[in-house]
Structures are given as C-alpha cells and as structure tokens.
Amino acid sequence: MSTLMTVLTLCYEFFKTGLLAVGGGLATLPFLSEMANKYPDWFTHEQLADMIAVSESTPGPIGVNMATYVGFRVFGIPGAVFATISLVLPSLIIIVAIAKVMDKYMSNKYMQWAFGGLRPAVTGLIAAAGWSVVELALLDLTDFDIARFWEAINIPAVIIFAAVLFLTQFKKTKKLHPIIFIGICAAIGIIFKL
C-alpha cells in the first residue's frame, strides 16, 4: 500500500470505529480485532493484547489510547494524531447536533420527565461500572468457590478501599483532590507489591 493509502485507510477504519462503537472504551475492541484480521501488517492479535494492557495502564480514555497506540505503530506520530482525530470526529459531530437540540427542548416538560427517570438510572449505571472495578481490584474470582467465598476477598485491598472511602466522606479530608488518593494508592501498591 502506498503511504497516502495507508493513512487514508487508517483514518477510515478509526472513523468507522468512532461511528459504530456505542458505549465507549472497550466497545472499540471488536473493531480493532477486525482490523488485525484485515490488515495483518498493521498489528497482530498478540500485539492487540499488549496494546490493551498499555491502554489500561496509562491515564486517559481507553478508546483514545488504543487509537493513538495503533496509529503510532502503523505510521508514527502522524499516524497517532490522524487515528485519534478520526476516532473522535463522529462523536464530536453527533454530540454537537444533540447539544443543539437539547438547548432548544430542555425546558420541554416531556424532556424534563424523561431526564427525571434517566438521572437515577445513570446513578445505577455508574454503580454497576464501579462494581466491575470492585471485581477486578478487591476480589479474586479465579477458582471461586461459593462455600469458601471469603477466600476470594482480597483483604489488604478491601482495607485500603475502606480507608479511602472513609477519607472521601470525612469532613476534613473530603475536599482533597481525587488525584491525591490515586497517588497514595499507587505508592502503596509499589511499596507493598500489591
């Protein structure tokens, strides 16, 4: 493939991913897997697994991280920039259109009612997303045995969790910036080899 064609294909593939991956983050995964099938010289399935590990071990939205990583592997820094821009472009266009409509109709009573139902539901959704991190960080569900369920609980992790949660509720410490808790926990993780 010529260079120009490679970049255009890269942009097209990530634009398509941005347009069709609903739900964000790991929803981009099936599309990347398809890319590995279609363009084996871009990256292999093993490399994709590595990319996921890197994306999950660095700050930033996972979808953007994946696009940057794939783009860089395929065509260096310009590839990283083009792939990322292509990925975010569809949502940028769609959300601006929706924001315009919301501006106009947000005072409408039906919109008010619908969002009245949505706010508690989204609170539940966020709790569910939190639960999936709990499964990952506080529990060890490999060889899970219901009769000995307590063995699945990662006790040091639960203690740290409880301590941080307490500090976020406690009057004197709840105004601390969240990044402070993240930094302290990262340090604890390294020191105690969690």
Binding site: A21, G124, I182
Partner: protein
C-alpha cells in the same frame, strides 16, 4: 473596542477548556465512567461550568450515542461553554495527554505494561478508583435517588447491568420511558387533587 474584548475572553475561555480537559485526561485512569470523580471535581466544584445533574444527563446521552463517553462529555461541556469551537477544543484537550503519553510509551517502552512497578502501582490505583467511584455514587444518590420510584429505577439499572450484563442502551431507553410514565402519572394526580 468592545468586540475585541469579547474576543479575548473567548480565547481565554477556550484556553481554560483545553487545560481543564487536558488535566482530566491526565488524571483519569480507566476512562469512561471511572473519570466521573475528576469531572465532578474540575467542572462542577472548581470551575462551576456545569451542575451534577447536567453531567448525569450527558452520561445518559453518551451511553446510547456512538463514541467514547469521555469524548462525548468533553464535547457537551465545551459546546455549552463556547459552542462549536468550545466543543472541538475541549475534545482535543481531553485527547491531547493520551496522544503524548501513549506515543512516548509506544516509542520508548515497548514492554511498559510488563514492568512490575507499573503493575503494582496499577493494582493500587484500581483500589483508589473503586473508592472514588463509590464516593461519587454516594454523592449522586443523595441528590437523585430519594423517592421510592427513583430507588427502584437506580437499583433496577444496577442489576440489569451488573447481574445480567445487558447493554446500557436498554437501561437508558427504559429509564426515559419510566420517567415519562411517572411524569404523566404524578401530573394527573396533581390535577385530580386540584379539582
């Protein structure tokens, strides 16, 4: 003269949008819903650009539209503050740190994720993220999950996703319909009382 002044303040606002979202991008681990604590801190508490309710509304829409939730939220907030240029700048701000960090890692540290210290640090970070999300949920529940109907909707949403692994789109559509029915129903009640 006056026009020039608004131009400068628009430029300043765009700069603030870029910086705020770049900050959120750097400090978010896990993306999407995990960035809620950072969004609340930066956008609601520090900047006062949006309210808690607005962030929930953006999340609700972001769940059933294409694209990454983080980007969708950045676009919404940017548009609210400074229309289309704001939307573009906020989105670029959000993506900027990732592009830099990932490019450096891809170029220099090909085995970054295998470094033991990185793995240990992230085991710790995940615990902090759990606690921060729990704290955010408590805060949101205090203002949005009070009536019996709201508790039922929130618990149902949690169970549908966490236990049955259904698509969030199902929950969002269902909750919007429930909200419409509740609105209709309570309105009728009130009219009945007035008569």
């Amino acid at each position: 003269m006056k026009e020039k002044k608004t131009e400068i303040s628009t430029a300043k606002l765009l700069g603030q949008l870029f910086l705020s979202f770049a900050k959120i991008g750097v400090m978010t681990f896990g993306g999407g819903l995990a960035m809620l604590p950072m969004l609340e801190r930066e956008l609601v508490e520090d900047r006062g650009w949006v309210t808690h309710d607005e962030i929930l509304d953006y999340y609700a829409v972001g769940q059933c539209t294409p694209g990454i939730i983080a980007v969708n939220t950045a676009t919404f907030v940017g548009y609210k503050k400074a229309k289309v240029p704001g939307a573009v700048i906020a989105t670029l701000g959000m993506a900027f740190p990732s592009v830099v960090i990932i490019t450096v890692i891809a170029a220099v540290l090909s085995n970054f994720a295998d470094i033991p210290a990185v793995q240990h640090a992230f085991a710790g970070i995940r615990i902090a993220v759990c606690a921060l999300i729990a704290s955010a949920v408590i805060k949101l529940a205090k203002s949005n999950v009070k009536s019996v109907a709201q508790i039922i909707i929130a618990v149902a949403a949690f169970i549908i996703i966490a236990v049955f692994g259904a698509s969030p789109v199902v929950v969002v559509v269902g909750a919007a319909v429930a909200g419409l029915l509740l609105g209709r129903f309570s309105k009728k009640n009130r009219e009945g009382e007035q008569k």
